[in-house]
């Protein structure tokens, strides 16, 4: 359970988050909105890269904003980035093991946990392969494996399927749908692919110009007048 109250972020004259109030209960929740709506900024607040000017974030009854950014991973926060961040110089195994060794879980089960995470995302390859040699879809899956290893509590996925062909987006969707059950983590999915969001998320929140304009069951939200208008205001159409 993540409860966000009165969250505002300002960069000079821009207000990418404006008095945002929302809660994400459990399972996989969607967070959508046109480009520049503030979705990534919201994730950056949760990660600790951006300091809000006002507001609180409570995650499982803990004040998330009071924690040093690198400690949040140990607490159980995981995320992927809009631009791909799997470490090219390292093997698939080391990429995932690295997250595990900075988590709360001990070293004893590391090997097994890492291989589990790799097979959970459906990567059927030699774990010693260097990530730099993989294709885009596989690298994205490595990032997801990094996000689910070491008992996460919250998994943030920032456009995990951006730029992937339909077939690989489908594959990604299947993995995302299983994250809450497999790990017990609350998952928040940001994506522009409405098909992916509807198939993964029971509930969805919508941001527009930093303001929360709708939230609730995904199907209802996508029919909401204001949401359709927000999207029609930009070039992309639902």
């Amino acid at each position: 359970m993540i409860e966000v109250t009165g969250l505002s972020v300002r960069f000079g004259g821009v207000t990418p988050l404006d008095d945002m109030n929302v809660s994400f209960a459990e399972g996989t929740c969607g967070l959508i909105g046109p480009n520049g709506a503030g979705k990534t900024t919201f994730f950056n607040v949760l990660s600790g890269f951006v300091r809000p000017v006002a507001g609180t974030v409570r995650a499982f009854d803990q004040d998330l904003l009071g924690m040093a950014h690198f400690r949040r991973a140990r607490w159980g926060l995981r995320r992927t980035f809009q631009t791909e961040q799997a470490i090219e110089q390292l093997s698939v195994f080391d990429n995932v093991a690295m997250v595990h060794e900075h988590s709360k879980v001990g070293a004893a089960s590391r090997r097994k946990d890492v291989l589990d995470a790799i097979s959970f995302v459906g990567l059927d390859l030699d774990p010693q392969l260097r990530v730099g040699t993989l294709g885009a879809g596989e690298r994205r899956l490595v990032e997801v494996a990094r996000a689910v290893v070491g008992r996460p509590r919250v998994v943030l996925l920032d456009e995990p399927a951006a730029g992937l062909p339909d077939q690989e987006t489908e594959r990604m969707g299947e993995v995302i749908r299983q994250i809450p059950e497999h790990t017990g983590a609350l998952t928040i999915l940001v994506d522009h692919d409405m098909g992916l969001v509807s198939s993964c998320c029971e509930k969805t929140a919508v941001l527009d110009f930093g303001k929360l304009i709708a939230s609730g069951p995904t199907a209802e939200v996508l029919r909401d007048e204001r949401v359709i208008r927000a999207y029609l205001g930009t070039e992309s159409v639902l």
Binding site: A73, Q85, V99, H102, Q128, R146
Partner: protein, 361 residues
Amino acid sequence: MSAAGVETADTTTQPPSSPGGFDTRTLVRPAVIAALLLFVVLALPSILSTYYVDAMIQVAIWSIVALGLGLLVGRVGLVSLGQAAVLALGAWVAARILFATSLPYPLVLLAAGLITMVLGTLVGLPALRLSGLYLALITLMLAGAITVVLATTNFPNGGHGFLGYNGSAVHIPQIRRPSIANTDTAFLRYSVIVAALMFLLVLAHVRTRPGRAWAAIRQSESAALAAGINTTLYKLWAFALASFVTGVAGGLLAGSSRYLYSYDFTTQESITLLAVVLMGGIFSLWGAIIAGLLLQLLPQLLNSWGVSPDWLTILFGIGVLQVLLTAPAGLVDQVPKDLARLGRLLRGLARRVAPAGGRSP
């Protein structure tokens, strides 16, 4: 481009191996390295002339320095232009301890390494806030400051007081060497073994948790933070490790030259060092050895052929350009590729020359 070098499990060309399973390469590689090391320690010093024994001692020392800088630049992405000054610090500290105490040499090296580690980490502090060009400039300026301070304090020469320098000394005592390594050949053996230990130390870091953390930081600091890596700690750790090995190298330098006052640590040297480290290859520990050879053996070779070492400045300049433009992994990566290409070319030629129906290769 391969990430690697000593630990190149060049996964692009290697057939997939089951994790933890043995393939022959995992055994062949250490065996080749051990044989090479034995040759350099046992045979090489006795076949070289005094001139080249001296040169090779310097190669061993500067390979360690290059190892430290390669770690910073190649693994973590921190460009430091202060490493020659850190070496000078290590040499100063070692000389001071050698004159003041009768501690066994390995302990002196350890102490010089540890004290230099503390001082060198201070040089690295700006890295917590700066990167790229700004970091390079700051470390260059700090190095300049260290050089100026050392020029006024001088290197210890057996005098008293904290600085251990006696300006009016008539008879200047030598800096002592390990009792088992008093001759130049023995000191070369000693230096190579110490260098090998430093390479092992760095390898042990690069292959494990800190190495993975550094790779993450090099690629993206925010992604590293999101993975739970305390980037401040690991950056300082990199500077500490690089300074430690450089301090140990300083200890060897003190023993090798015996009179440090004649040794000039210029900031120019730090810049040339970065150039050869880039040329040798920053993603591989072998690159550090190549850098040591370029920096200390090549000038002596040119000298004995009667070529002015001034040409080296130009050569290194061109070398760095070539690395930056076409071969970012340096000579250690480029030369085997070029040799393979040459091999294919020669085989192709041989096939064409061979009569039709001849045995195909």
